[in-house]
């Protein structure tokens, strides 16, 4: 321990000396402020932005999306459906991992079975569990088999990172997490716990090479501090700013906000199994009573987009439907119609990670139409537990949420939120379940859109869930950074450069 302290001392002193040296002429390191420490660099262990933002630069994915969101080849150069449940992928043969070993079809098979194997206990298992079999069928061929026809398969495989089988099996899970080796455009150099992760450009990369020689990911929990880092030039890119914070850097000389509409939709989950929100009239009153455009214009700088259903235009399975317009009079009338039910207290659950301005604005709007709403703030873990576990009668009446399946497919949104078998759903409707089950295994795109459209109509009519707006994600970036944020909230270093 003393030795470690010693290294730290010298480390900090060296850093001090370095800081005193004149600024380097060429920009060779990009500094990115994340909102929390990366959980893991093992791409099969966790799916959160502060983790995949880092590890997707170390690893290549089977397939990927371009900046416009279209699925394009990556490790797999092409793919074709052999039948309803089998897809064959052709794998590139010129990829090597950072330790020099070539990437083989075995690695691809290993990567997916590692996740689907229950012994791994990967939190990502639900995203891939439709794949029941994966096998090598040729020197550059892999075939994935699903239990039933599974339309969102490709959309899910965008998230499959390829890891080196030999290395992982040799060093084990813990060591792999500490010293990950992938085939991506950047190599892992160092993870100083709590401080930063440093990556270095992989000059032997097979694809689009990075501009920056090095990348430093810092962990800065306070958004105000992230903005200060941007303004002082300490960081070149910062994630997760709110619209008011972005306003403070709009006129700044050094940095600017970069905004993109994501596939994430903010919504109110109404508890359809507990009075008074089990009452359709009350739910409709709530839907009419919320001024979505007012929230977007007033609080979000007009950057977000009204959502009438939980699906966004960019998603597979989307069809255009008119949502509830803002109608104060009608809302009040419905509340009056509901009578005594409207006098019961409505518990509005929320967590600190959601925009509290919106939560308070919604509460005020609901109070204005004559409902009694009490905000109940819980920390994230308690919130998820309250919203997902236990009998519907004990869950909060309304809860705030922001949903993204990171797969751009209706199945990843409507099924978990609405199907009665899902822990995330607070709706019990047999007709709806039937439609969602059918859509899940339907390979005919047109028919599938129709099924989701029917489901959405039921959801809208019953007002089972209240979509608010499609979330705009705000990054802060140095003005010299050339980079376009993407709807899937990715941070690909090899798509960034410096002016």
């Amino acid at each position: 321990m003393l030795k470690r302290l010693g290294t730290h001392l010298t480390g900090i002193l060296c850093a001090l000396l370095l800081a005193a040296a004149p600024a380097m002429a060429a920009k060779d390191t990009i500094v990115i402020d994340l909102s929390n420490e990366t959980a893991t660099c093992d791409p099969h262990m966790q799916w959160n932005q502060n983790s995949y933002g880092v590890y997707r630069n170390i690893f290549d994915n089977l397939i990927t999306r371009d900046n416009a969101g279209v699925i394009i080849p990556s490790v797999a150069t092409s793919w074709k459906y052999l039948n309803d449940t089998q897809v064959e992928f052709t794998i590139r043969t010129d990829i090597t991992f950072h330790d020099g070993t070539p990437l083989t079809p075995e690695d691809v098979v290993y990567s997916i079975t590692r996740i689907t194997d229950k012994a791994t206990a990967s939190p990502q298992r639900s995203q891939f569990e439709a794949v029941v079999k994966a096998e090598v069928t040729g020197p550059d061929r892999v075939v994935f088999t699903t239990d039933k026809p599974y339309p969102p398969l490709l959309a899910q495989l965008v998230k499959l990172s390829i890891v080196p089988k030999a290395y992982v099996e040799k060093v084990g899970k813990e060591e792999f997490n500490k010293h990950p080796i992938g085939s991506g455009p950047y190599k892992f150099v160092e993870w100083s716990r709590g401080v930063h992760i440093i990556l270095e450009r992989n000059d032997a990369y097979w694809g689009n090479k990075g501009f920056f020689q090095k990348a430093q990911f810092r962990f800065v929990p306070d958004p105000g501090t992230r903005v200060a880092d941007l303004r002082t030039g300490k960081a070149d890119l910062a994630v997760d700013l709110n619209p008011d914070l972005s306003a403070t850097i709009e006129r700044d000389k050094v940095c600017e906000p970069r905004v993109t509409l994501t596939e994430r939709v903010a919504f109110l989950r109404t508890n359809n199994g507990r009075t008074p929100t089990s009452n359709k009239t009350i739910r409709q009153a709530i839907a009419y009573g919320i001024d979505k455009q007012g929230i977007i214009d007033g609080l979000m700088n007009g950057q977000d987009r009204i959502a009438s259903t939980m699906l966004t235009k960019e998603m597979t399975g989307y069809s255009e439907l008119a949502g509830y317009p803002y109608d104060l009079e009608k809302a009040r009338k419905l509340v009056a119609e509901a009578g005594d039910a409207a006098k019961e207290e409505i518990v509005f659950a929320t967590a600190p990670s959601y925009d509290q301005r919106v939560v308070q604005a919604v509460q005020q709007m609901l109070t204005d139409i004559g409902l009694k709403v009490r905000i109940e703030m819980m920390d994230q873990a308690s919130f998820l537990k309250a919203v997902q576990q236990g009998d519907l009668a004990t869950r909060p009446h309304i809860s705030f949420g922001r949903w993204s399946c990171a797969c751009m497919d209706a199945d990843g949104v409507v099924y978990p939120l609405m199907h009665s078998s899902s822990a995330w759903s607070q709706t019990r409707n047999a007709t709806l379940d039937e439609l969602l089950d059918q859509a899940r295994i339907c390979l005919d795109p047109a028919k599938r859109v129709d099924l989701y459209s029917q489901a959405d109509k039921i959801i809208l009519d019953e007002s089972y869930i209240l979509p608010l707006y499609q979330v705009a994600y705000i990054y802060g970036a140095n003005k010299n950074l050339v980079w376009t944020p993407t709807p899937d909230e990715s941070l690909f270093l090899n798509r960034m450069s410096w002016k």
Binding site: M1, Q127, E174, R193, G194, A381, W424
Partner: protein
């Protein structure tokens, strides 16, 4: 002497074990981290699988006994979120906590004691009022607010200091000041009281009556006799600093134990929270022991027969 140390260590051990036990069970009342670990849309079956693999399907007392068993072999367990041994996380974060504590302590003692002594010597003068004003101002501001004001002034507008991070000694300055302000007030007050106390005593009056210059009296007698209360407070304040560090470390992105503790509580990463509390308990025991031993050095009349609780 050694009996005294053993007795104190035993008492501290009981206190730490008690704290840990309560913490262990109370934390588990708040649920477990599985829901935070799975992505949106995970099925109930997957959640259950993950829960089993983390050991949450075991009865609570079994989990507790397993934890104690590990602890007996100095095994703090694995982080649920990061999947690495808790020791790794603790050891990489501890130096930063020590740096910050040292910085804050240095500042609050280095500035607090002289201010306190000056306030005592100049009692009733205009200078005392001014010093008092300074001390009170530092004490009447929430840490996070004085921290933000400093960031805006010294980092954003004047660009003298880095806004966050831990890569240079300059970056240590603002967090230390933000953290040290509260403690500074305590030290100033203790020093003032101690000096006033001593000034009223007969030997000082005699010495002054004999014409010994005040400065010499201060250095020869006051410093030694006022040391005891100052040491007592220093030992207590170190554990207070750990608490204040929770906010300062979050604000300045300083990677110490306070920051990791808050994040671990939010993430339900129980082994880390337990380890931080263990470290905190060990630190406070150590500080108090050192304080007790220092009493003996400063004032040889105190013998550790049964305890020198003041």
């Amino acid at each position: 002497m050694s009996r005294f140390i053993l007795k104190r260590l035993w008492q501290a051990f009981i206190a730490a074990l008690g704290a840990l036990t309560i913490l262990f069970f109370v934390q588990r009342l708040t649920g477990d981290p599985t829901l935070l670990l799975v992505p949106e849309g995970a099925t109930a079956e997957d959640i259950a699988t993950l829960r089993t693999s983390l050991g949450f399907d075991q009865p609570l007392y079994v989990q507790y006994l397993q934890y104690l068993k590990g602890l007996a072999c100095f095994d703090l367990g694995m982080s649920y979120v990061q999947g690495v041994p808790v020791w790794d996380i603790m050891l990489s974060r501890l130096p930063y906590t020590l740096w910050l504590t040292a910085g804050a302590m240095l500042l609050s003692i280095g500035a607090g004691l002289p201010i306190g002594v000056l306030m005592a010597l100049k009692r009733g003068t205009f200078l005392e009022r001014i010093l008092q004003g300074v001390v009170f101002t530092g004490q009447s501001m929430p840490t996070f607010f004085s921290g933000i004001l400093m960031i805006l002034l010294f980092a954003v507008h004047l660009q003298w200091l880095p806004s966050s991070g831990s890569d240079s000694l300059l970056a240590l300055l603002m967090p230390s000041v933000a953290l040290g302000l509260l403690t500074l007030a305590t030290f100033a007050r203790v020093a003032r009281t101690a000096v006033l106390d001593e000034l009223g005593k007969d030997y000082v009056r005699t010495a002054r009556a004999k014409g010994v210059p005040l400065r010499r009296i201060i250095w020869r007698h006051l410093a030694r006799n006022s040391a005891i209360p100052v040491i007592t407070v220093a030992a207590l304040e170190i554990s207070h600093l750990l608490a204040g560090a929770v906010i300062v470390e979050t604000l300045f992105a300083w990677p110490g134990l306070g920051q990791v503790a808050v994040q671990a509580i939010e993430a339900r990463d129980f082994p880390i929270v337990q380890a931080v509390v263990l470290f905190g308990a060990a630190a406070s025991v150590l500080c108090n022991l050192i304080a007790d031993l220092l009493y003996g050095l400063v004032d040889p009349r105190i013998r550790h027969s049964g305890g020198a609780q003041s």
